[in-house]
Each structure stands twice: as C-alpha cells, then as structure tokens.
Amino acid sequence: MDIFVQQLINGLVLGSVYALVALGYTMVYGILELINFAHGEITMFGAMVALAVISALTGAGVDLPGVVIALLGLLTAIPVCMALGYTIERVAYRPLRHAPRLAPLITAIGVSIVLQNVAMLIWGRQYIPFPPILPQGHHNLLGARITDIQIAILVTSVVLMIALTLLVQRTRLGRAMRATAQSPQLAGLMGVNSNTVISLTFIIGSGLAAVAGVMVSAYYGLAHYYMGFLLGLKAFSAAVLGGIGNLAGAMLGGLLLGVIESLGAGYIGDITGGFLGSNYQDVFAFFVLIAVLIVRPSGLLGERVGERA
C-alpha cells in the first residue's frame, strides 16, 4: 500500500510539471492551431536563467534564506521567458500567420534548435547543478515520503492552474482569448485586437513554462541545454492526451501521463510476471495514449474538430 501511495505521489509531482508545460502548448494551439515546438526550450531557458541568478547570488555570498534566493531566480526567469516567448511569436510565427500550416511548424522546429544552441553557447555543454539551498525536509504521508520540494511543486502547479482557469473564464482578456480561438476574424470585428491577444497568450504560456523549468531543475538538482526537448515532448503528449486546445484537458492529460508513467514503471514488471520490465515504461505510456486516441481521437476532453468556420 505505501509503495502504491509513493508511486502515486511520484506520478502526481511529475504530472503537475507536465501539466504546466502542456498548458503552454494547448493555449497556443487553441488560438493559432500551431504546435509551438520551441515551448520546451522556453522551459529550459527558464531553468537556465534562474540558475544563473541563483549561482551568482550564492557565489557572491549573499546572505539570504535559500528559498528567497530561489524565488529571486524564479522572478528573473519569468520575465525573461515572457520576453522570449513574445519575441519568438513576433519574429518566427507572426510573419507566417497566413502561410500554409506546415510553414510555421517548420519554423517552430527551427526556433527550438536555435534556442538549444544559443543556450549551449551561453551556458556550455555541462550539466549545471542546482545549489543545495532549498530545504531538504520530508514528511510521512500514509507510509510514503513526500519532500518539501515535491509539496512546493504540487501546490504551485495547482495554484497556477486555478489562476489560469480564472483568467480565461472570468476576465475580459480571457473572453478575448476564447473569442480569438473561435474565430480570429469575427473577434476582430467585435473589437478584439487579435495580435495583442496572441502575444499575451505566448507571454502567459512562457511564464508558466519558466515556473515549470525552475521547478524541474530544483527537483532533479540539475539543468542542461537539452532538458527542454524530452520535457516538451512529454508535455505535448499530455496536451494531446487531454485534448489539445482544451485547458482542462492539458491539466488532466499532464497529471494522468505522470501517474501512468509512474505506475507503469513501478508495476509493469509485477503485472507481466517479469516478462516486461521498467524499460517498457515509455512504451506503456504511449500505448495508453494511442488507446485513448483510438476511442476519442480529439483527446479526453477535446472538442469536435471542424468547429472553426
């Protein structure tokens, strides 16, 4: 039982990070029907910028509590990533807004490669350690262990997800975003500046990515210019699983993917009597993804395709 609870905690922590990143994919897709492959790299930039600030502060011997230093890193990373997300949209996607769908997809892949290489030039090929400044305590929960960092990740993710849902459902900007998603032209006729809305979508998504990046690097204790790739891929899968374009779907998909991966890796050996081992954990996760998509091609909470005029 305690092992099961532990696997569930592992999965939820992992899944809440996937969910935060998946939100960025799904928001952009919802409005532009564009898969922003550079999103994983924005996550990586968030981690890198925060680490640079944290290392500079600890290196300079600043006498602040570790949590404050980490927060300063995070608060630097968020605006940097927001600016990065805005710039990417402005430079790489907006000029291609009316080009065939494949063109911005290719530039997205291009931007992702450029960002990886820029990060490699700035921060090098080394893995960058996250200084041990955060509290390392842990608590018992139904016989399983949950660390302070895991609690922080879970709480932060849930708060951000609620905040984003409120933003989209309850504010003027949210209404403008939903209107633009349904029909940019019609939203424009109603006085919505779709360019501003799209820019803000990228900015918000990038901010979330920055938070996710910093949390991942704090959790695993390292950052690397390549870390955004796999994280982006998993988060994208989570968005598809939940129904790409749907915010609640991205959150559900993220959490679900995390839990499936964790339980899959933990139990697949026992279920199959040792025939399949934990080397099949990704296979297992993608098998679930495919199975869901066969039954519900637009994802768990996805809406019918073809709504757009």
Binding site: M120, T147, G221, L222, M227
Partner: protein, 384 residues
C-alpha cells in the same frame, strides 16, 4: 543587388577560394595526416565528448609541434572532430563521413552503443579505430582487425565490481539498474553475472534511459525489495539525480556504479547525495598513472578540468602515431599491421593489445566519494 556588383563579388569570392586552395596545396610538402575524432559534441553527454576531443587534440598538437618525420617528410596531423550525438544511427553517418573525408585512423567513439555500429564501417574501409572509452565486450568480439581500445572492458570491470559488492561490502541483496545503452546494459549484465558467481542475489532489475532524470518510480519499486546495494550501469547525468532520489525516498542502500559516473560532474550535480557513492574506473587513478600529474597540468592549462576519458583519447592518438612511425607510413593498410605489436608506455599505463584488440593487463580502480571528492579505495591489477 545589381548584376555588376554581384559579378564582382562572385569573382572576388572565387579568387579568394582559389587562393586559399593554393595555400593549402603548398603545405602538402608536409605529410598531412587526417585523423578522425568521433564523440558526442551535442546532447546530454556533450561534456564528455568534448573532453575526449580535447584529449586527442592535446596529443595531436604535441606531435605536430615535435616535428616528427615519416618517410622523410614532416608529419602534420589534422584532427577532424565529428559529433555522433552518442547515437548509434548518427554514429554510422559520422563514420561514413570520416571515411569519405579520407581519414587514415579514428579515435573514438565515446559510447559503446555508437562505437559498435561505426566499427563495421571502419573495418570495411580498412581504417584502424582506437576507442578511448568504449568498454562493451561485443566491440572487439566482432572479429574486426581494425577495432582497438585503450580501456579495460566491461567484463574486467563488472567482475571487479560484482566481487567487491558481495565479498567486501558483504551485500546479499542487490538491485541493478541500467540505462539500456550498449555500455550500461553490458556493464550491468557482467556485474550481475559476477554477483551471482560470488553468491549474491539480484533482487530487482530495473531499466531507464540515457536521457531520463526521473527515477522515482523504479526506485520506489526497488525500495519494496529492500536491497543492500543499488548498482547503476550508466552515465553521470543519470547517476546524479538517481543518487539524490535514493536519498529522498529514504533508501539506505549503498550506490555502486562504473566509469560512466566516476566523474567530477557527478559530485557537482548530486551534491551531498554523492557522499559515500562507490564507482570503478578502468585503469589507474590519474595521479597514480605514470604520466598522470604532468597530463593533468597540461590539460588544465589549456582546457580546464578533465571530465573522464581525456587521458585515454590522448594515449590513443600516441598509440596510433607510434604504429605509423614503426611502419614508416600513414597508409592504413601498412600501419594496421603494426598496431598488434603496440608496446607503449602511455599516460594511462602500459598499453599492449591481445589478439582481439583489448588491453592485455588492464587495471580497474575503485573510488568512493568522501567529503566531496573521489578518493581511491583500491586498485585491482591484471584483470582478465
């Protein structure tokens, strides 16, 4: 751009190209020898890959500066470094590219998984290959007369580790994790065999990838088997978060591993969680190597800290050039015949090859992290 201007520019470019082409030709009064270096220069293992390239470059620059002659002409080695991304598929592309570029020998690759598929291409082209760091047994077991390595193989290392775990650590219950690469899996398999031979029991066998950072799920599963030793076959970017997560889950087992995690980066990344970890590395500790201290100074002055295999890449270049000197030729067909007769006192030790291309009497050393540094525990000589 107007057509006249474009023509002028084109002419300028073409003549510039011609001039530079000419100056290159003039150098061929020297004997230009192209040697390839293949290792991951991008991706998660880029830090190790660049380290290998730097080690080889150091040797190449020394040889060029020393002004050795071959067949009456001054030797000038060009090191052509290629990025195999630690990926078996990319490795074959890179290997073909090096062959097409006309290299006469290759230092590489870094990973066993990349080295093995590439070795067929070098064998078909008759080009000698010396890997500084591929330790998988199957690399030299393919019967290619072009395949050599200057590092102890996984059988030698796995045996030392397995016997150490059971006999010296007194562990009976052992969990094994590998990263599913030719190296990680090969080492873990040899370790498992040695553990069983010594009377230990492998209570869990789990798998991850060489790109993962999350091991909570497999470690939780391992925890339920209550092992005394957790063995990891893989590289430092995985080993460090693995060490941290062992702590987070409150698993008290001793972490044990191979050369892939016996690096300074492992300690930097794992911080306090690295403390107590034991890992092996083929060969002698750098400071006990015959030329270790001098090498460290030279390397630090030019490239900074040594990651892991740079001294082996450095020795590999010298072994290759030595064979060329004995054959008095850089023709692969001629100096290949000299490679089996290698008897070279290198930085890493005394290098001689058996009939497969493996080191004849490789040493394996064990290290433990104590107060934030790798400290030598013991060295096992003449492993078979």
């Amino acid at each position: 751009m107007n057509p006249t201007l474009r023509n002028t520019l084109l002419t300028a470019l073409v003549s510039a190209a011609l001039i530079s082409g000419c100056s290159k030709k003039d150098e061929s009064a020297d004997n230009i020898i192209k040697i390839g270096s293949a290792s991951p220069l991008t991706g998660p293992q880029a830090h190790l890959g660049k380290d290998n390239e730097n080690g080889a470059q150091l040797a190449v620059d020394e040889i060029n500066a020393a002004g050795l002659t071959l067949n009456g002409k001054k030797m000038h080695i060009d090191l052509i470094a290629e990025d195999d991304q630690a990926d078996p598929k990319a490795a074959t592309t890179v290997a073909q590219k090096l062959v097409d570029d006309g290299v006469v020998g290759v230092i590489g690759h870094l990973n066993s998984g990349a080295t093995i598929p590439a070795s067929k291409i070098y064998f078909d082209a008759g080009i000698p290959q010396i890997s500084p760091s591929a330790t998988a047994i199957s690399y030299t077991a393919q019967g290619y007369n072009t395949a050599y390595r200057v590092m102890t193989n996984d059988r030698q290392q796995g045996q030392v580790l397995g016997q150490y775990a059971v006999n010296q650590l007194g562990a009976k219950r052992i969990a094994v994790i590998d990263d599913r690469t030719a190296y990680g899996q090969g080492l873990a398999d040899e370790f498992e065999k040695a553990v069983k031979a010594a009377g230990g029991e492998v209570v869990a066998r789990e798998y991850t990838t060489d790109k993962s950072t999350d091991f909570m799920a497999i470690l939780t599963s391992i925890k339920s088997h209550d092992p005394q030793v957790v063995f990891f076959g893989g590289m430092d970017p995985q080993a460090a978060p693995l060490a941290k997560q062992l702590n987070e889950l409150g698993i008290k087992a001793q972490l044990l591993g191979g050369d892939g995690m016996q690096t300074p980066a492992f300690i930097d990344l794992a911080n306090s969680a690295a403390e107590g970890t034991i890992a092996s590395n083929p060969g002698l500790p750098l400071d006990s190597m015959p030329g270790g201290k001098a090498f460290r100074e030279k390397f630090n002055a030019r490239f900074g800290e040594i990651q892991n295999y740079a001294p082996y890449a450095y020795d590999a270049v010298y072994v290759m050039v030595d064979a060329m000197k004995r054959a008095n030729s850089s023709d692969p067909a001629k100096y290949l015949a000299e490679l089996p007769k290698t008897d070279h006192q290198g930085v890493t030790g005394h290098i001689r090859f058996d009939n497969k291309g493996d080191l004849t009497d490789g040493a394996v050393s064990l290290y433990q992290v104590k107060s934030g540094k790798w400290q030598v525990l013991q060295t096992v000589q003449n492993t078979k």
